[in-house]
């Protein structure tokens, strides 16, 4: 059974957030993300004249595809390159606590980024008729999707000392998981394999959530995806000993 010490976990999360906010990365990330997202919001609004956020949420997996690996690439690579991993993993925190601390830190950061897009949603709701049910569900889906990206990016970062390598590999693997369920891919596959691809695809489940209902299958898929890569992460750190 994994035991997590609350104080240590908090300290780990606090440290991760400090690493984000004491460096320019956090602010660059937030600015880029907010610029892109507001532009996408208002583009749909002015061009189509519709008060809905489909355009934004639809393209979010692609924005995340580059932005999230840029957050996660350094999480373990830099600890190994700088040697700080030695102090970290000998300071009587467990490997599980260390992995969860990093995952939680990044999750909080992601949640904050999404929260900052909220004012735009609110202003849209003033000019027209925004379906809040659909929007909130989509936000929830975006959080799940983002956390899945984080979990995978974090794992890949634990495989190399080189953060650029971690970035590129993360983008490639996430890209594969994203388009796995696309018609273009599944059309060439036998039926059973095609539906397996759909089940394993990050994109398919996200699109299903965007329709406005959260199916437990989608939720369970993301949860398993996240847990799987966190566990793999714990395992790689333990075998690197």
């Amino acid at each position: 059974m994994i035991q997590i010490n609350k104080d240590k976990f908090q300290a780990l999360v606090r440290k991760e957030l400090r690493l984000y906010f004491n460096s320019p990365i956090a602010y660059i990330f937030l600015v880029v993300f907010l610029l892109l997202s507001s532009w996408l919001f208002f583009r749909t609004f002015f061009l189509i004249g519709q008060t809905e956020m489909r355009g934004f949420f639809g393209i979010l997996p692609w924005i995340f595809l580059f932005l999230i690996p840029s957050l996660t690439m350094r999480l373990w690579s830099e600890e190994y390159r700088q040697g700080t991993v030695e102090t970290l993993l000998t300071s009587s925190v467990s490997v599980e606590e260390a992995v969860l601390g990093k995952a939680a830190g990044s999750f909080i950061f992601l949640a904050l980024a999404l929260l900052l897009t909220f004012p735009v949603a609110i202003s849209l709701s003033f000019v027209g008729n925004l379906d809040w049910g659909v929007v909130l569900t989509a936000y929830f889906g975006a959080l799940l999707l983002g956390m899945a990206y984080i979990s995978l990016g974090l794992f890949i970062s634990s495989l190399t000392r080189n953060q650029i390598v971690a970035f590129i590999v993360s983008v490639l693997v996430l890209f594969a998981f994203l388009i796995l369920g696309d018609g273009i891919v599944t059309a060439f596959l036998p039926n059973w394999l095609g539906s397996l691809c759909k089940t394993l695809s990050l994109g398919t489940h996200y699109n299903s959530i965007l329709r406005g209902v959260i199916d437990t299958r989608d939720f369970i898929f993301y949860l398993s995806f996240i847990v799987l890569f966190l566990l793999l992460n714990v395992q790689t750190l333990k075998t690197r000993r």
């Binding site: 010490n5 104080d7 240590k8 908090q10 300290a11 780990l12 606090r14 440290k15 400090r18 690493l19 004491n22 460096s23 700088q82 040697g83 700080t84 030695e86 102090t87 970290l88 993993l89 000998t90 300071s91 009587s92 925190v93 467990s94 000993r241």
Partner: protein, 308 residues
């Protein structure tokens, strides 16, 4: 107390540690001495539980270091890794606060612990400085302060004085010596003076193997060659002839000195023959200007042990 038994570690085909045994008592300072790549850092990483050994065991206070005792035992250890790795994004306070928290120091006691560690390591005036702005010496101090923050009974210090200026080196050594009265300390170094200055005991490692062990003094005593260096006014040939008559003489070397008519002679004997040498010279009416019994330096011992 730390007991290391038959430690073995391979990095792929390379055997970094091969059957290394040693022990450190409480209140003792042990120096791991060895050339680059000897395996000192590897041994320390294993003792702190960062690396797993391929064979052998580490016991801390009689308890085996293993998965289930790891976190508890790690809390007894303060570790300064090689080159004092730090997070460039954090400042000194944030660093110490982080280390205090993960070591389980309660919130209300943290500030006191941080100030105490900062004070002992001379960091008070840099308490809010960013790590990226610290000089190498201050980084080393912060690394040391981090290792001390939870007042551990064991300290593992990997080259604690590298990068410090001579004043700081003396200060840190004094500090380690004072800590060593109560704590169990293992430090690694390739500086001989450091061993002589602070270590109670030395373990010499070369290519992953233990090649010597003892007090800094006894390591020298393992050898039975005595060298007496004398400075004489007189003829080299005559001097050599008379010196050769003395018992236990192994070898004589002489060279001219800067002064005219003066020679320096090294007499290698298997026992201390100083008084016989003085008598022989007096008998031969050779003028003795200076006599020095040359002790073997740590450098000599180090070379001898590690160049086999």
């Amino acid at each position: 107390m730390i007991t290391v038994k038959n430690l073995q570690k391979n990095y792929g085909p390379l055997r970094a540690l091969d059957n290394v045994d040693f022990e450190v008592q409480q209140g003792e300072i042990l120096a791991l001495l060895g050339p680059n790549g000897a395996g000192k850092t590897t041994a320390m990483k294993i003792i702190t539980g960062f690396l797993k050994s391929d064979a052998g065991s580490v016991e801390i206070d009689g308890e085996l270091l293993e998965e289930k005792s790891l976190l508890r035992l790690q809390n007894k250890i303060g570790y300064l890794p090689e080159n004092a790795p730090l997070y460039p994004e954090l400042n000194v306070w944030e660093h110490l606060d982080f280390m205090a928290s993960v070591h389980g120091i309660a919130k209300e006691d943290r500030e006191k612990a941080i100030r105490e560690a900062a004070k002992t390591c001379g960091l008070m005036e840099k308490l809010y400085a960013d790590v990226s702005e610290l000089s190498k010496g201050y980084k080393q101090r912060l690394g040391l302060a981090q290792a001390l923050i939870h007042d551990p009974e064991i300290l593992i210090l990997d080259e604690p004085t590298t990068g410090l200026d001579p004043n700081q080196i003396i200060e840190i050594r004094k500090f380690i010596t004072s800590l060593g009265k109560k704590k169990t300390i293992i430090l690694s170094t390739h500086i001989m003076q450091e061993v002589e200055a602070i270590a109670d005991r030395v373990v010499v490692i070369n290519k992953g193997r233990l090649v010597g062990e003892g007090t800094p003094e006894s390591l020298g005593g393992q050898d039975s060659v005595h060298c007496t260096r004398i400075t004489i006014k007189g003829c080299p040939k005559k001097t050599e002839r008379h010196l050769k008559k003395i018992k236990n003489v192994d070898r004589i070397e002489h060279r001219p000195s800067k002064e005219k008519g003066v020679i320096e002679v090294s007499v290698f004997t298997t026992e201390d023959m100083r008084s016989d040498i003085v008598k022989a010279l007096a008998l031969a009416e050779l003028e003795l200007l200076e006599i020095i019994s040359e002790k073997q330096t740590m450098e000599d011992i180090f070379q001898k042990l590690t160049q086999k």
